[in-house]
Amino acid sequence: MRGLRGAIRLQLRIVAADRGYLNEILMNPFFSVIFLGIIWAAGRKDLVPFAVVAPVLITLWGMALEISGDIVDSDRGAGTLEGVVATPVGFPTVVCGRVLAVTVLSLTAIVETWLVARVGFRAEVELHHPRVLIVTLLATGWAMTGAANIMAGLFVLARTARTFQNTINYPVYLLAGVIVPISYLPGWLRPIGRLLFLSWSADLLRDALSPAPVRDPVTRLGVIVLLGAVALVLGRAALQLVLRRVRASGTLGLE
């Protein structure tokens, strides 16, 4: 736990020193303007929940992806990766702590989006099921940390994976239905979307903002937590495996 707390503190200090880490948070109001503007121009104010959930999830995902790639890359560049890996606290724990820190930070996206909706569009964002919203956000943060672990493992293994870091955003947004539910996808793509925890998060968050009763919230939350746990276990295993390999081959710090 001490290692985890230390990693969280470290990441918060890094973010305070380098504002570049906050890019995704800076982009959130633009996404909010775009999505709300689209539904406003179409006269579909009933779709406000869709337009406010999407920018929040995009910010959360973007931040986790950015940091998971950067932890490895920046440590490698600074020559500290070997030191971090050699410490008694496991590298996966460090990754978890650092991603957790940015995930919590990126929750400011909720405030940003709400402000754009209220001030910019005078939209009523009604919170019909607050408990569902809060628990879904917590579960999403948990699952995001797990997903970031898998990506960090990939980035250690193959530096070229960094090339793909920014390329998986939109395929994930599309497949997970962050704004357009996956029921609009072709039938053969829907099962893939259902394997992404973001699709469950997006559906539940939209339901939390809609007046209708939320159908089967416990099971759906359970799926998010389960997918997060699977990602975390796989991610930690992948990181351990990769670290063993690069230790053996002596290529840990090589660019």
Partner: protein
């Protein structure tokens, strides 16, 4: 005549250098299945919002807008590329050399124009059939010309921003990202400019892409030649404005750098 030949030579070598940088980062495989595929998915993502709205008109609006916006998204990396010389510590040598530093910096990043153009044309050709949107084949040559114009004016804006981030290299990733999002939000890419307050609509009018995109929409729609030509002229005018701003910024940077020696220092 010799001056032009020399400038062309400098530009060619700078472009070759930039291409090698790009090829060092991306292989053909990682470009096609990474960047290019990502852009196609981005256009499909926004076009699919039209289906959520149950409106084929909205699908077409979002698809065309975001396909054309793929050009500036690819092109604005030129802003980041402008700082590479400073990061490498070679900028003082360029400023001291007899040739224009701007020429070299532009040459090194000119490849991103081709990158943006490929994204936009790829999106305009490959994504519409997936959403039952038709692009009249006889208008393709004019479409290519308009998208090339949009790419060029965006490139000039990107080099202007590059001049700004040369003095603040820590913002080299943030600035082009904000520019991309501003274009996507206020240039009529996804939301008609008329939906915004007048001030924001005016801002959209001086951004690259806006008028060229209006021209593209007219071209694939009613196709009135005079309207398309008018929009193209406005886009060219905006591009020229960004070029002049870019020249002024670089001139001021080089002059100030020579005077106080600050050109040597990087803020990285």
């Amino acid at each position: 005549m010799t001056g032009i030949r020399d400038d062309a030579r400098v530009l060619r070598y700078a472009a070759l250098c930039g291409f090698q940088d790009f090829a060092g980062t991306y292989s053909v495989w990682s470009w096609v299945f990474g960047l290019f595929l990502r852009m196609m998915t981005q256009v499909a993502f926004f076009a699919s919002i039209g289906r959520l709205l149950s409106s084929q008109q909205a699908v077409e609006y979002l698809l065309i807008g975001n396909a054309v916006a793929a050009a500036p998204i690819g092109c604005l990396t030129a802003t980041t590329a402008t700082t590479w010389e400073r990061v490498a510590g070679t900028l003082p040598l360029l400023v001291a050399s007899p040739t224009s530093a701007l020429l070299v910096l532009m040459g090194r990043s000119v490849f991103f124009m081709a990158n943006g153009l490929a994204f936009a044309l790829g999106a305009l050709l490959l994504v519409p059939p997936l959403f039952d949107v038709a692009i009249p084949p006889d208008r393709l040559p004019a479409l290519v010309a308009l998208v090339a114009l949009v790419t060029t004016s965006t490139y000039f804006a990107a080099t202007f921003l590059g001049g700004l981030v040369l003095n603040a290299t820590s913002a080299r990733r943030t600035v082009p990202q904000v520019a991309r999002m501003a274009i996507m939000a206020f240039s009529g890419v996804s939301v008609p400019r008329s939906s915004f307050p007048e001030a924001l609509s005016w801002v959209g009018g001086v951004l690259p892409v806006t008028h060229g995109l209006d021209g593209v929409r007219e071209l694939v729609g009613a196709g009135r030649v005079t309207v398309v030509v008018g929009d193209a002229a406005l886009e060219a005018l905006v591009g020229l404005g960004w070029l002049l701003a870019s020249l002024a910024t670089f001139h001021r940077l080089a002059a100030a750098g020579r005077r106080d020696g600050s050109i040597v220092f990087s803020t990285v």
